[in-house]
């Protein structure tokens, strides 16, 4: 069955439903919403949304870094645990992802609201309602909460595969714990870090639900703007232009992170 034509249905499918739609996005991005004539107007309008682009990228980047900092020790702990415990902890990491992310985000609303669980509890201690929701910190919290498993899993994959004898060798050669970490463990886990950051950053930068539920009134992220072009403002052409720019930005970011790590492969899937 070594027959490359077996891939033909797949290739046709992907061309029809991946490449052609992207071509349609480009077509819409460069045409006018009313007349359908070719125009650069949609792209020119992008300047007004520069601050929203910057804010989206900034919040997604902060979330990715927080995920890395808190996810690394967890991934390390799981990777070094005995086999049975390892499987159990991995299950616990994957399990929350099986519950609708919409509901889990709503649960955070109930926790963080002015009359929510946390503020009710603080109120009993005599601490007035804290502004826990409708700010950027709440958006970052929602992003970290939703996408943390995407950081932990690839980190775990590389850490688990790492040969413990490398660490022993470094110790034998006189490295202290800190040096072992910075000279052996950290560089060895670079592919996991890169794919973890990518897997957190991409959904975070394009989210529109988390910002809507947890962010303030001016908290629109780029995903919100795109969504509203399709569901409220009915300007699919401008929505297409925004999507196009978002996609190009993301591919540039992925290219840059891959360049920095010098490793093209990464550990995309667990």
């Amino acid at each position: 069955m070594r027959n490359r034509f077996l891939a033909t249905p797949y290739l046709i499918w992907m061309i029809l439903f991946v490449l052609v739609p992207l071509a349609v996005v480009v077509y819409f991005a460069f045409t006018d919403v009313n007349s359908g004539a070719l125009t650069l107007h949609n792209i020119a309008r992008m300047g007004n949304y520069l601050s929203i682009f910057i804010k989206s990228i900034w919040l997604a980047l902060v979330s990715a870094v927080i995920c890395l900092v808190v996810g690394y020790p967890v991934a390390y702990f799981i990777a070094k645990a005995p086999a049975g415990l390892q499987r159990f902890l991995l299950m616990l990491i994957i399990l929350p992802m099986c519950i609708s992310f919409l509901l889990r985000t709503m649960a955070w609303v109930s926790l963080l609201e002015d009359t929510g669980v946390i503020n009710n509890f603080l109120g009993m201690l005599g601490i007035g309602p804290l502004p826990l929701i409708r700010n950027n910190a709440a958006i970052v919290l929602g992003m970290v909460y939703n996408y943390l498993p995407y950081m932990i899993l690839p980190l775990y994959t590389v850490l688990e595969k790492m040969d413990p004898r490398l660490i022993e060798a470094a110790q034998d050669l006189g490295c202290d714990d800190m040096q072992v970490f910075t000279k052996v463990t950290l560089p060895m886990s670079a592919p996991g870090i890169v794919s973890g950051i990518t897997m957190v950053f991409v959904p975070a930068v394009s989210t529109f639900y988390i910002s809507k539920k947890l962010g303030g009134t001016d908290a629109a992220l780029i995903g919100d703007v795109i969504e509203s072009q399709f569901k409220a403002a009915y300007n699919p052409n401008f929505g297409a232009a925004l999507s196009l720019v978002l996609m190009i930005l993301i591919f540039i970011c992925i290219g840059l992170t891959n360049r920095v790590s010098g490793d093209e492969k990464g550990a995309m899937l667990v």
Binding site: M1, R2, N3, R4, F5, L6, A7, T8, P9, Y10, L11, W13, M14, I15, F17, V18, L19, P21, V70, G71, P73, V74, F77, I78, A83, G84, R87, M91, L92, L95, P96, C98, S100, L102, L103, S110, L111, T115, G116, V117, Y145, L148, D177, V202, P203, V205, S206, F208, Y209, G223, I226, E227, F230, P236, A240, S243, L246, I250, M268, L269
Partner: protein, 271 residues
């Protein structure tokens, strides 16, 4: 150092499970605000079983997820076999194609398909193109890469002389495929299938752009509740779903543990 890891791990697990605990508690709450517990009740569960709205939506989600992941499994397995037989450059292109929906944010995938369907709708002069078919196409498209990425590594690892041996022993190529190649691939096909199924069942972002009023899935409907409070039976539904998934995962875990033990024993006996 070890201590720090343990503390962080415990905190993170609490962080991951507190919202889920809140949903579970809300499913036993007689009030509709999850933040204020009124009194304990099973009412939400009995309401769920007499429900004619949520369960059909869950049914819709399951229909799409099963159909899409079965189609993706067939297309994807064939594709992996085909790609495996390709030379370097076409192979890289074909795999690159699978990476596009993986790397692209969901919203861009959703928007691009929505625009494609709008475009085709214009050509066909119809306003009712969105529905089950468009949803299915979208879910197959984002499920395919998971199958391919899960099957390809196994194919590359597989010893080609196994198939050669089957052929030498008189198997026809098709027999060799069903008797040798396919059994080797079963576990990775299953892993890819589960991945595609889970992604499809929980997908909201892409579905939101390509669903039609004639066929709504559960996540899309939950999103429509953004303005009003959720009916508490939704919490009951998800608590039950969570328990079901928990049981399945624990069982899988036990099976894996058993396999690992057997493997170890076999190795000890030098087999």
């Amino acid at each position: 150092m070890k201590q720090v890891q343990r503390v962080v791990t415990v905190i993170i697990f609490l962080f991951l499970y507190i919202p889920i605990l809140l949903l579970a508690v809300a499913s036993f709450n007689s009030g509709s605000d999850p933040a204020a517990f009124k009194s304990f009740t099973f009412h939400n569960y009995s309401a769920l079983f007499h429900d004619h709205f949520l369960l059909p939506l869950l049914g819709n989600s399951l229909i799409v997820a099963v159909t899409a992941s079965v189609c993706a499994m067939i297309l994807g397995t064939l594709a992996a076999l085909g790609i495996h037989a390709m030379n370097k450059t076409p192979r890289r292109l074909a795999l690159g194609l699978a990476n596009i929906p993986l790397m692209n944010p969901d919203i861009v995938t959703g928007v691009s398909l929505a625009l494609l369907f709008a475009f085709v709708g214009q050509l066909l002069k119809t306003n009712h193109i969105l529905g089950f078919a468009t949803l299915l196409i979208a879910h197959i498209t984002f499920g395919l890469p998971y199958i391919i990425l899960s099957v390809m590594p196994k194919l590359t690892q597989m010893d080609p002389s196994l198939t050669d041996a089957a052929l030498d022993l008189g198997c026809r190529p098709i027999q060799a495929f069903f008797k040798v190649t396919l059994p080797e691939l079963t576990s990775s096909i299953a892993a890819g299938f589960l991945m595609a199924f889970a992604m499809s069942l929980d997908d909201f972002v892409i579905s939101y752009f390509v669903f039609g009023p004639t066929f709504v899935t559960l996540p899309v409907e939950i999103y429509n509740y953004t303005k009003k409070p959720l009916p508490p039976k939704i919490y009951a539904l998800f608590t039950l779903l969570f328990l079901a998934i928990l049981v399945v995962m624990v069982l899988m875990n036990l099976l894996q543990a058993r396999d690992a033990r057997q493997e170890r024993r076999r190795r000890q006996h030098g087999m």
